[in-house]
Symmetry: C2
């Protein structure tokens, strides 16, 4: 199982809780040191995005706020807050499952990671993984069906 | 004491811990519902900026991730992560003590709060409070003196 598939497993945990299904894992030297899934509604916390939870756990694992040499795998393009958190934590590589045309902070709406005005050490890799877009598409189709049936 | 002075008190708590002195308070209906100061080194957490801590506490106080109708007072212009967090939490008003020409996410480096491509409900107010810039200037002068004496 590759790391994006593990991030997708995290997204499925969010789905199970009726959260927007987004997952993230932070990896160092081939080992997972932080995982997270979106818990914004469950925790009633605007910061409880998958990436923020995974980064916090990774920092705890390493005992260091600097995550140089780490990679993060995220099923959906990070929003502006999470793109900022990835830059702030100095994560070296960001692997993105699919893009977010509405809120994406890595090029779709604004680009905070590869921006000449921002001191960023993060290299971005787009994976265009259809499983990452399909889980979101299916979630929003279901939400619309549910809201119509009420 | 006005709310920016209370944010400055928070900044002084960070200073006491030898953290970059930045403080934030979240206010609703004239009451403080969240406070925070920079604890990045102390907690070894890249996310432990004053704003993030104050927003988390405010959400806990209200039991809601939506902070519409709230104001946040921050001694220093929020970075890209914190500007993103303020937008994500739907805070209505952002009061900024002084600008950050290196990392500012509210106009100095990039503008995430008043950006036509980003769906933001946050109104920005610049206070240009010299106490907010002086505490930072003094901190960095001391840091340089210390590093020279070693």
């Amino acid at each position: 199982m590759n790391f994006m598939d593990i991030a997708l497993e995290e997204a499925k945990r969010a789905l199970y809780l009726k959260e927007v299904p987004i997952g993230a894992v932070v990896v160092k030297d081939g080992n997972i040191i932080g995982k997270g899934h979106n818990l914004r509604e469950t925790l009633k916390n605007p910061l409880a995005h998958a990436e923020i939870i995974a980064i916090k756990e990774a920092s705890e694992t390493l005992g260091n706020w600097r995550l140089n040499g780490c990679s993060i795998y995220v099923t959906l393009e990070p929003c502006i807050m999470c793109a900022g958190a990835i830059v702030q934590s100095r994560i070296s590589k960001l692997y993105i499952g699919t893009f977010d045309p509405n809120l994406g902070g890595c090029g779709s709406v604004v680009d905070l990671v590869n921006n000449k005005y921002i001191n960023s050490n993060t290299e971005v890799h787009w994976l265009y993984d259809s499983k990452c877009s399909e889980i979101l598409k299916d979630f929003f189709i279901d939400i619309r069906k549910e809201s119509k049936s009420h």
